[in-house]
Structure formats: C-alpha cells, structure tokens
Assembly symmetry: C2
Homo-oligomer: 325 residues x 2
DNA sequence: CTGAAAGCGCTTACAG
DNA sequence: CTGAAAGCGCTTACAG
C-alpha cells in the first residue's frame, strides 16, 4: 500500500502538498498539482482513513445499536439509515445487543473509542440513559421516547395517534368485539399504542378487552390461543405490531377461522412482510424511511437542528385483513 | 476524554507502563499496576481504538459488502456473521451496494483504508473479482462460487445438490407437471440450482419446463402469471428462492388455486419468512448460520485454514406447501 | 504557494 | 521491570 510519502517522493513535493491536493484545502501550483495527481494515479494511493480519523477526531462512522438486525423493523430502519449515511459518505457500524444492557454499554464505549460521529440507539432498557451522558458524541434514540438529557435526541412516530387509528378503523369496519394485544408496557411505543386504544374505548364507552404479549412471533402464537379462549366472540384484533399480527393470522388460519370474514386483524409498523403475506395485512404504517433518514441527518448535519424530539405521523394502510363496510 | 497520558500522570508512571498494564503485554510491578488500575478507574479512561488501530494495522473490523441488508437472506447472513464477530471482539461495517459495481469497488477501497481485517463479499458482479486482488486483506465470497485468486476464499452451500433435492421431492410428492422458475443464470447459485433440476429431469426422462425470473418478489408475481398461462396443467413449482416462492403463493392464492392440493410449491434458502407464512413453506434450507460463522472465522482466525472453498450441505425442510403422498 | 515540524493517541523495540 | 524515543499515516498551523 502506497503512503502519502511515496506519492510525495514521486511527485517531488512534500506530503503536505499531496494532502492539500487531495483535500483541496489550499491552492497549489498547477504544475505541481498535475504531478501529484499523476503520482496518485500511478501508485494507486488511497489515503488511510484511520490516520485521518485520528487527527480529525471523526471517523465518518455512525454506530447503530439495536436489539437485533434480524428483527424486520430494525432491518428496514438500518436500511434507511444506511442509504442516508452513504449519501453523505458515512459508514455504519452494526452492534446487535439482544437488549442486554451490558452489551449496550460496551457498544457505546467502543463506538466512542472508534471516533464514531454519533450513535443511533434503539434500546429497550430505560437505564441505558444513564450511560449516554458520559460520551461526547450525539446519541439519537429512535422508536422510544424517554426524556432526553444533553446529547440525546429522539425521533419516532406518533404511536399514540397510531393506536387510536387502529381502534377507530376496526370500529368503522363494524367489529363489535375488539381485543387489543398489548405490547410490553415498559416500552414506550407499546404503551403509547395501547393508550391510544384505551382512550378511544373511553370516549366511545366501549369496554376494554386486552391480552398481554411481547413484540414477538412465538409469543404472539401462544397469546392468540389464550385470546380466543378468553374472548370467544372476538371479531377484531389489534396486534401490538406486525410480527404479532402475522402470528395471529397463522393461528386463526390453522383453526379455520376466516380473515377478515370472521375476524379482522390490524397490525402496526408496516414492515415489508405486511404486503408479502396472503392475505395482505392491514396495518398502521410508520414512515420508517423518514425516521431513519432524520436520525442519520441529526448526526451528519451536526448541530444545525435545535429540536430535541421529532415525531412523525402514523398512517392507516388498508389491505386485506380488514374490510370497510 | 482522558488519554493514556492523563492516566500515566495520575499513576506516576510512563504511558508505556499504562499500555502494558492494559494489554498485559509485560510484567509490571504490582504496586505500579495497582496505581494504574486505580487511575484508569478514576479517569474513566477508555483507550482510543483509532490510535491503536493505526499502529496495529488492524481495526478489529470486518467489512460486509452486500446488495442490500433488506434482502432477508442477507439480513440473516449478516446476523450470523455479527454473532460470530462479536464473540471475538470484532465489529461489522455495513456496505450496501445495490449490486452497483462502482459502489462495490468503492466499498472495498474504503474498507482497506479503514484497516479492516477482512471483507465478506456477496456480489452479483463477476467482474468485481478483478478488484479484489488489489487489496492485501482476506476477502471471503459467500453464496457464489467464481474461481478465486490469491486472497479470495469461498463459502457457500451446495446449490446443485439442493436443486436436485427440490425436484426429487416434488416427484416424490406425486407432481406430474413440474415447472422450474430459473433464477438469473449469471449468478452461480441460480445456475447451480437449475442444473440440479435439469440433471434430474434428464436422468428420469422428464421434459424440462422452465420460466425465467430474478431473485425478486415483484418479478416473481409477474412470472407466475406467465407460468400459469404457459403451463396450464402445472401441479408443482420449484421457485428459485423463498422470496419468489412467497410471490408464487400469493398469485395462486389470489386466483383461488389451492396449495398444496392443486399446486405444490418448494422454495430455496429457508429464510425466516418461510415458517412465518401460512401455509408454511416447504423449502431447501441453507445453513445460513454456519455459512456466516465460517466466513467470519476465516477472517478472524487468519491463515489457519488452508482450504480455498467451503461447501455446506443443503437440506430439505418439508412444511405445508407440499404433500408427501 | 509550500515545506518542516508538531501532533492526533496509542504501542513496542531499545536500552538500562 | 520501566522510561524515552520513535513511529503508525495523516493534517494543519506556522513561517517563509
């Protein structure tokens, strides 16, 4: 690998001049510039980013800390972030934590020591907040909304509004016995979604019917079984997210219960899977691309933005698991 | 951020000694060691990985170059790689290329300049091979099998065998008119799968029935429409991968064609989606975890391994879209 | 416009 | 066992 010295020697200039030509940080004599360009070409020189990063204190790196890249919602979020990062010449470092707080802490520390420019964090551990203030790079929390401090910014969609929309849609579709599968209430997105459902119940004088579940396929199957026993007349199900909605459908399908004729289903997130499955899933769509892009931009376009919290609207997407009229 | 000098000053030793304590690279007087440890504790010192990497010429980084993290097969592969990398203290840098060769080249260059320890490459461009020889770090090609050169190693599953198994299974299930949806033949995995199908046809004296498609959901829908027109008596479909199998099912479902009663379907890959959908998809399973782990280990456990190509067996997973007898 | 020098924060021969 | 020095490969004041 050629170094800047090799190029300098070949072009008969100093390393400083090579640097200036590469980066356009100062005017350089045309003649010398040509020699440098030629020498770079000939040596196949590529500047060492590590050395550059050591000096600049920026590695053009965004750290992505999430429970698992294999969770479809996070996959798509990562995709959106990557696209925005790439556009600006930034790279993503992936840290899966399985929601283990020690791993989250370790990841933050490691990213800081790598001179990452910022971190996008999707944690389910509330206490992680205590560790985010220790580092001097911006941390963007997505999909959650705990109260920020200092270098913390938050971007997510309006889960509460989405929760309301889900319930209102099922009512509009004529459901008389709606059951809400609540997500884990320690996770703010799950709580907000449920609160939306609950408030609509209160306003309309409808009795709450709920069941508890994690954001998880396996549990979704188990909980659906329980749900069917507990609420025998159910004709509408609000799943806490799409993955659970898919498992609800599977259980109903296996029991020969027709969707949407006998039971209607609505999910939350609008992951790609929602329109891959048959029947296609009606769901509350999060603008994942916008959320990812905004999170990345908050790091890349540092400081310009003063807002602390960015909230995007959720949107109803009617497909085949519900039927209007 | 405290630096090694701060720690040294506080502990009244030289930076070299601090380094030796941290890394255990030499014996250090017990007394001094204690002072250093205490000073690290007090300052919250975390060594700067960039500086370390500049010296060591290793950043403990694995570059992952793939068309898109949002392709479920690659998502799972990335997950498997990440797990293995994490176990050994390595991090993943994500580079989505959309199969654009310029982006692939740029990614390789950038990873080299970041002092990455190796690259795991899943490209669909054959010419990329010409650029892999330029860099001095190991490059592991997965899911493809072009002839390697120098620092190239290859790990993938036995697509040919898998292709045979798919066809043999459908025959065993009593299908009389089997259609094979061929993937793009420039991609070696697609070609190998098709070759497996083709050879079984020849051995059994069955006439080939095929249709062309990309590894893609949208195209899968379109191609299935054509397939149904071209082969009206079809009762078994071999999809080039699971994503296409899902789209095949959707089209059949929409037309009211029952699966597996009227038409049986088999996919390839065994992505998570295969057992999420209803009915669950029969498919040829790739050992994605093992492939990812092996690819990562080839980089991490450098040089130990002399083999140039690692081939894993595919496995039939019978689920609900086919019916044995 | 341009080069010599210092420095980014570590690590490791080297000498003692 | 341990410190001073050199160096990893860049960049940017500084001086001319």
């Amino acid at each position: 690998m050629a170094s800047i010295r090799d190029v300098a020697r070949l072009a008969q200039v100093s390393p400083a001049t090579v640097s200036r030509v590469m980066n356009g940080t100062a005017n350089v004599d045309e003649e010398k510039k040509k020699r440098v360009l030629k020498a770079i070409e000939e040596t196949g020189f590529v500047p060492n980013e590590v050395a550059r990063s050591l000096f600049k204190r920026s590695a053009k790196l965004i750290g992505l800390i999430m429970p698992s890249i294999e969770n479809p919602f996070f996959t798509q979020l990562a995709g959106a972030i990557e696209r925005t990062a790439d556009k600006h010449g930034y790279r993503l470092v992936l840290c899966n934590t399985g929601s283990v707080i020690e791993k989250e802490k370790a990841a933050i520390q490691m990213l800081v020591s790598m001179n990452a420019d910022g971190i996008i964090l999707t944690s389910s551990n509330d206490e992680i907040r205590n560790y985010t203030s220790l580092c001097n790079i911006p941390i963007i929390v997505t999909d959650r909304s705990f109260n920020g401090c200092g270098n913390l910014k938050i971007v997510h969609c309006d889960h509460y509004q989405g929760g309301r929309m889900a319930m209102e849609h099922l009512i509009r579709c004529g459901c008389k016995s709606i059951v809400c599968i609540k997500g884990q209430q320690e996770i703010s997105s799950a709580k907000d979604r449920y609160d939306g459902y609950k408030d609509v119940c209160q306003e309309k004088g409808i009795k709450e019917q709920t069941v508890d579940c994690a954001y998880d396929f396996e549990q979704g199957m188990k909980v659906t079984d329980e749900l069917l026993k507990k609420y025998k007349d159910v004709d509408g199900i609000i799943a806490c997210n799409d993955m659970v909605a898919v498992s609800v459908y599977k259980v109903l399908h296996n029991k020969g219960i027709r969707v949407p004729e006998q039971v209607q289903i609505i999910g939350f997130d609008d992951i790609a899977l929602a329109k891959l499955m048959s029947p296609e899933l009606t769901t509350i769509s999060q603008p994942i691309d916008e959320i990812g892009a905004k999170a990345a931009e908050l790091i890349i376009l540092k400081g310009e933005e003063t807002q602390q919290e960015y909230i995007f609207e959720a949107k109803l997407v009617e497909r085949e698991t519900t039927r209007h009229n």
